[in-house]
Amino acid sequence: MRIVIAEDDPLLREGLTLLLRAEGLDVVAATDAPGPFLSAVGEHRPDVAIVDVRMPPTHTDEGIVAAVEARRRQPELAVLVLSAYVERAFAADLLASGSARLGYLLKERVGRVEEFLDALHRVAGGGTAIDPEVIGQLLTRPRPDSTLERLSPREHEVLALMAEGLGNAAIAEKLFVTEGAVHKHIRRIFAKLGLAPDDRADRRVTAVLRYLDAAEK
């Protein structure tokens, strides 16, 4: 797996590189700003880009902008965004452009190396990885009685895990139920959200977005 990193903090950049190389992954470039990052992506055509949200010059959302631009230039590029905070608007921006090959994690998750590598592989393999904290914040926002039928608590749980990017088997394992039960829950969630009963990865995140959208109105 060929990786390009964009992270302006030198220590963290080094740490990430060290960690990934120790895992036998191929870090082809480690950059510190959006400009060098984009040229590195153009030059190396990596499989995955790991991007910090806040980067120079203004330290606001340069990372997100750069990631979106990189994907525009190379649509098959998988992007894993690292953020110091849950920045809801950024997560939504990113997901709006399609959720396949996309990840949004809090920086400290990197320390949980197994989970981090799992998320990285998931994203590289065409899936989605959204930080549980992000999902938690998005789903627990106070919402008025929406036009949507309310989801049951169990369906809510399934939706949250789905939003993180987990597959049916992984969800079943986490909830101590059978895969068949998970499948049934997902079909019911889709029905309540007015989606066709098809649980491809894309559709799954659409469901989450639809739910969040409805929650916001």
């Binding site: 903090d9 963290l12 060290l18 330290h59 920086k107 990197v110 190396v113």
Partner: protein, 409 residues
């Protein structure tokens, strides 16, 4: 046209009323002024000294009367604080001095103006009514007012009437102006001093309050950025390194020591940065050693030899001390970075309830607020406290920074 005329007449009538009132207070002012002169002259002989207090109370009474008159007519004229206790203090009080100046002006020029303002309509009426009563006088006596020539028969008397009509026109035209002129010294001298114009002051306070909020927000942003870029990133790097060390422990134990070394470095950096942020908020050294000690510490740490002189009895408000510390630290950083100076000096002095801070160096000068020198930061932080910031830095030097802050205690 008729409308216009009626309005002019009404305005003249109102103005005449004010002229009457103004003439009244000017007579009183003239009395007070004459009394002032008498007391002043007798003071030379020593007798007047016992009478001086009466000058001030009399002046204040007349001035208050004029304030009430002006307040009825236009915007309210606010009175000054009560008279100070002693003659010496009274003579030093700007409000009292302005009252004395007003008495002199209103009692003389004002009195003459008032007399003219009243004589004009009186003469006009005399002249207009003259044909009715000219027979009561001998032709040689002439007419009323300025009519000194011989009046022979009704023809001449009607001529005087025409002059009267002319005088009416003049009166209507000039009396409003006279009324305003009569009020002018009072409005200028009896209102609170121009230096403390209240509306300006309110505007200024509003602006500085906004500046304080801005400074506050800027400070919070600075702290947030410092915590995010420094401490938080260090801690994230730390957890990444710990994770890496754990993984390495499973397969490549030889690498663990190196990774832990880096982790320790990251921790130390995080601590150092956290300390810097905390110090920036409220330098603990101020609490430990007071302003003089803290500034002495800055001077010792300064690469350019620096003399510090602090003459501040007691303590100022903590935020003012912190600002002073910030200003001096920032200024000395500039001296080291930009001035090429061989020596610098810091003096801090308390004058009344103001803190005067001066930082000088013998460097090349030419400092400007642009160019990220931190001077605009100083200005903002000083403005937030309603303070004053001045800099003189001619090319070739020397550079002098003067900062004035309220002590807040």
């Amino acid at each position: 046209m008729r409308h216009h005329l009626a309005r002019r007449l009404r305005a003249a009538g109102n103005a005449l009323e004010h002229v009457l009132g103004g003439l009244g207070t000017s007579v009183l002012a003239l009395g007070a002024f004459l009394w002032l002169v008498v007391v002043a002259v007798t003071c030379l002989a020593g007798i007047g000294l016992v009478l001086t207090p009466t000058v001030f109370t009399l002046t204040r009474a007349v001035a208050d009367r004029e304030r009430r008159r002006l307040s009825r007519w236009g915007p309210e004229v606010l009175g000054p604080p009560p008279l100070p206790a002693t003659t010496r203090e009274r003579l030093r009080d700007p409000a009292v001095r302005r009252e004395l100046a007003w008495v002199a002006r209103h009692g003389t020029a004002g009195f003459l103006l008032g007399v003219v303002g009243i004589t004009l309509p009186v003469h006009a009426i005399q002249n207009i009514t003259f044909p009715l009563w000219y027979r009561a006088f001998e032709p040689e006596d002439g007419g009323p007012g300025l009519v000194f020539w011989r009046i022979d028969g009704l023809g001449d008397a009607l001529g005087v009437l025409v002059i009267g009509l002319f005088l009416v026109a003049v009166a209507v035209a000039v009396i409003p102006g006279i009324a305003r002129l009569l009020a002018l010294p009072g409005r200028r001298l009896l209102a609170p001093d121009g230096d403390v114009d209240l509306s300006l002051r309110v505007a200024e306070l509003t602006a500085t309050r906004a500046a304080a909020l801005d400074a506050h927000a800027a400070e919070l942003r600075r702290i947030e950025r410092a915590l995010h870029d420094g401490t938080q990133n260090r801690l994230v790097a730390l957890t990444v390194l710990i994770g890496a060390a754990r993984r390495a422990g499973e397969r490549n134990p030889a690498a663990v020591a190196g990774i832990l070394d880096r982790a320790q470095d990251a921790t130390e950096q995080a601590l150092a940065e956290l300390r810097a942020v905390v110090r920036g908020i409220l330098p603990p050294v101020l609490d430990d050693r007071g302003l003089a000690g803290a500034l002495g510490g800055l001077a010792t740490a300064c690469a350019v030899p620096c003399r510090v002189e602090v003459d501040v009895p007691g303590r100022c408000a903590a935020s003012v001390e912190a600002t002073t510390y910030f200003v001096v630290a920032e200024a000395l950083t500039n001296v080291v970075k930009h001035s090429g100076a061989a020596a610098a000096a810091v003096t801090v002095r308390r004058v009344g309830d103001r803190l005067h801070v001066r930082i000088t160096d013998d460097g090349r000068g030419g400092a400007t607020e642009s160019g990220g020198s931190g001077l605009s930061g100083i200005r903002r932080r000083v403005a937030a406290y309603d303070g004053r910031f001045e800099m003189a830095s001619p090319p070739g030097g020397p550079t002098t920074l003067n900062v004035e802050l309220p002590c807040g205690s």
